[in-house]
């Protein structure tokens, strides 16, 4: 039984990492129908900038804050320079633009920083916490709490605030949103800043566990994307559940079946879910535009 619990704790830790990345996808997708494949780079930037600011002598919280602000600024720049000029381009072009952006950010990071792997200390030490014969690191609790907090904030933001509803309205119908007085450019800028900040926050939280280097972004983006699609793109609840589900699935497969095929199992489940529910678990129904 302690094994099952250990697998579960591991799955939730990893799942919370995926969920944080998936939540970052949600906002931009909601505002613009763009899946931003550079989302993983925001996570990477959060970790890398924090590490280098911390190594330069800044206290960790300040370093993390700087990382989040700088990354948010990069997110805004990405929107202004690459996404806004390409408005109305087909899905496949947007995928390539954001992948191009991710390659660009990666290239810039290796120049500005380096190609080594880095880690900064966990927030509350490395003493494992014992739960029924299984263990979890305090940092994992930080990650899980972070994912939950971001989820709650986003949920409140989209359902309870005017600006959140404006974001949804912009995604739904840009022209109509403008007609009712929504500044859609501001909405776009805001959503890129928020997505990037959430990504950077994820990077700050997970780096003590997963470590970071200039090229961790792509793998994170893929897993986060898969998690978001599993849950249903655009829905914070979907991102959270999708991420946790993916993490637990991987841990259970690694624990009980085969560690070699744990990623395969995750993708098989994603395929199976999409065949049964083409919009993911909590996705909104879309109708064909005629």
């Amino acid at each position: 039984m302690p094994e099952l619990l250990q697998f579960l704790l591991s799955g939730i830790t990893v799942g919370a990492v995926y969920a944080l990345v998936a939540l970052g996808f949600t906002i931009i997708y909601n505002a613009s129908d763009v899946v931003n494949f550079a989302q993983g780079e925001f996570v990477m930037l959060g970790g890398m900038i924090t590490f280098f600011a911390h190594a330069a002598g800044l206290p960790l919280p300040l370093a993390a804050l700087i990382a989040i602000i700088v990354t948010a600024a990069i997110g805004v720049a990405l929107n202004k320079l690459a996404i806004e000029p390409a408005r109305g381009a087909p899905v496949v072009s947007l995928i390539i633009i954001t992948i191009g952006a991710s390659i660009f950010i990666r290239g810039a990071t290796q120049l500005v920083f380096d190609k080594q792997i880095h880690r900064f200390p966990a927030f509350s030490g490395d003493q494992p916490i014992l739960i029924g014969g299984a263990t979890i690191l305090p940092q994992s609790l930080w990650v899980i709490a972070g994912a939950l907090a971001v989820f709650v904030c986003l949920w409140l933001f989209f359902t309870r605030t005017l600006i959140g509803r404006a974001v949804l309205a912009t995604a739904n119908n840009r022209v109509a949103a403008q007609l009712v007085g929504i500044n859609t450019n501001y909405v776009m800028t805001l959503s890129f800043a928020m997505s990037a900040a959430i990504g950077a926050l994820a990077g700050v939280l997970v780096t003590p566990i997963t470590l970071t280097s200039y090229d961790v972004g792509l793998a994170l983006a893929l897993k986060g994307f898969a998690a978001a699609m599993l849950g249903g793109m655009g829905n914070p609840k979907g991102a959270l559940v999708g991420g946790l589900l993916l993490g637990v699935l991987e841990a259970m497969t690694a624990g009980y079946v085969s560690s070699q095929y744990k990623d395969a199992a995750a993708f098989i489940v994603i395929l199976a879910v999409l065949f049964a529910m083409p919009q993911g678990l909590f996705g909104r129904k879309s109708t064909d535009r005629v």
Binding site: P85, I95, G100, I268, F275, D288
Partner: protein, 318 residues
Amino acid sequence: MRLSSKVTTLLILAAVIAIAPVFFPSSYYFRVGSLIFVNGLAVAGLVILIGYAGQISLGHAGFAGIGAYACALAPVHLGLHPALAALLGALLSAAIAYLVGRPILRLKGYYLAVASLGFGILVSMVLSNEAQLTGGPDGMAVPELGLRAVLKAIGIDLSNTEFWYAFSGLVLVLGAWLALNLYHSPTGRALRALHGSEVAARTVGVDVAHYKLVAFVISAVYASVSGSLLALQNKFITPDVAGFMHSIEMVTMTVLGGAGSVLGAILGAAILTTLPQVLTIFQEYEQLMLGLVMMLVMIFMREGLLPSIARRIRGRAE
């Protein structure tokens, strides 16, 4: 006299392939040329899927992997000639594309993207995990095609790189010809109809699911043959051929050059294949430049390079 666009495309393609070697200062250029043709073939298949039918796939490298490993495994385990192995790979890819395509093509947009991505990752995972069979991530050797020796016996003596330039060039022209014929066939018209609007196509009686599947299967065969050519040319193959980055590369080539036109997509393949070679002058800035080029082209030339340039030229002429 006005030549049809099909004949023009084929003539341009054949002429460039035939004349370019005159300017080659060393046989390294034949190597780059043959890679362009191998990529061009995969991309010509994606034109059918992306350009004609308007579907997306982030997993086509999976089919390239099947084609490549068929050439590595079938000669060893089944005693097949490498050429037959490539054919077997193509058949296998078609069969798998048929089975996988039926459920996943019901998905749209990003959901189709993630499903095809999952498929590609599954293939590359099997290739790198089944190490006893495939040699794992370090890859395995691929037997010689043997055609060069035959040519030599009848008096045509080509170096290795020259041979692969000529051979893959020939296969590319053939592939382009088939793709262009398809465009003007009833199937091609049905595909373009569903690209415009699935609902409209369905209303006028097009079997949407069937035609999407046809496009998926055909493009899978193109990718598979491209993978086989790559394996036979390199005489060594690793699971990278089926990797996510290779899938992305193929889609980028297609869209960058112009997904709607076979010639455009092949131009995209040419650019993205030579770009890393050219960008070596930037050294550490190589990645940066690659990302920048991808973004700039897609932002400023949405239809892709060739159609955008062609439109600009036409616009000026009028």
